[in-house]
Symmetry: C2
Subunit: 209 residues, 2 copies
Amino acid sequence: MLFIHVNHPWPNINSVLFRNFAHVIHILIHSVMRKIRTIEMKRLTVEEYHQAEKLPLIVVLDDVRSMYNIGSVFRTSDAFRVEAVYLCGICQTPPSTEIHKTALGAEESVSWRYFKTALEAVGELKKAGYTVLSVEQVEHSTKLQTFVPQRGLKYAVVLGNEVKGVHQEVVDASDGCLEIPQLGTKHSMNVSVTAGIIIYKFAEKLILI
Amino acid sequence: MLFIHVNHPWPNINSVLFRNFAHVIHILIHSVMRKIRTIEMKRLTVEEYHQAEKLPLIVVLDDVRSMYNIGSVFRTSDAFRVEAVYLCGICQTPPSTEIHKTALGAEESVSWRYFKTALEAVGELKKAGYTVLSVEQVEHSTKLQTFVPQRGLKYAVVLGNEVKGVHQEVVDASDGCLEIPQLGTKHSMNVSVTAGIIIYKFAEKLILI
């Protein structure tokens, strides 16, 4: 057996030196991963947001029932400067106490419009040169992990009702479908979580990298 | 100016040939992007899920207050076969009507454990060889768009309270911090949406591609 004798290099625990040493370590740790305070984040004001360059993406909600889901989509859209949210069919619109509860004011920064049907919205978007992609589990879909949005194009993504998804006629009118593969027991994911994953993918490839 | 005369190849609109032609086009569109029915999705049963290979990722929730957010994290974790969800501090645990409302049964498929504090969970995870990453806006964070999880490593990500985020001492105990850049007016994103973006990133890089 090998014994190693070490002259312990640490100063006496009561010494001023030790207390300074501990203080320096504390500062070092905090300077490495100190949480940034809200006032340090320097987020945009609503006016600055309206002027700022946007992600070339419009999020179309086709008959989304839950106002909390709609509000959540607004909040995520604000975070990645989505160009606009189009609310269609049974979607409620701001001002709404329920939408505000999850949007937390993002319904003031993010532009939105209402359409009687998502089909009408998609028709207008296609005429305006947008590439329209429905987010659905369909045959011959493009899996999200293989999808890379192209710079220079304008995109719109359609997300559907919590139970029924995107209407088949809206899928048919789209330029293609994006699908998030699911490997578990459930048949679908929450629409606001799905929107978050999709919007982040566009933001990551077009403005964050 | 150049004029091109084209012999229009379409058959007369009233002819049988035209109607057959339109019918074929209709079938073609539907065969290309037909929505897949629930019974065709062939999702796993809960028993099959328990046996299936998992994503090497544990999701740690540090004082998440909303049971709807907890349930939503379960639902997303099921979709990407997350190894487990660790519920810490004030997090409620299944069985719970509120958690079930957004988990929709995923609390039965996804493994979970409860810890009095996230710090305790992180300590155990580090001892077990997990790389622990807090999801926070901190100085010197790793931005999610530059992060690539390494194959062969086991990961845990910590997500914090809706208002206060991850505790500073949990951040300090982590091996690093992941940050999702935010470009809008709001200071943070919804915790279940954030979890969705993070979990998808691991799934995309480790099991989907």
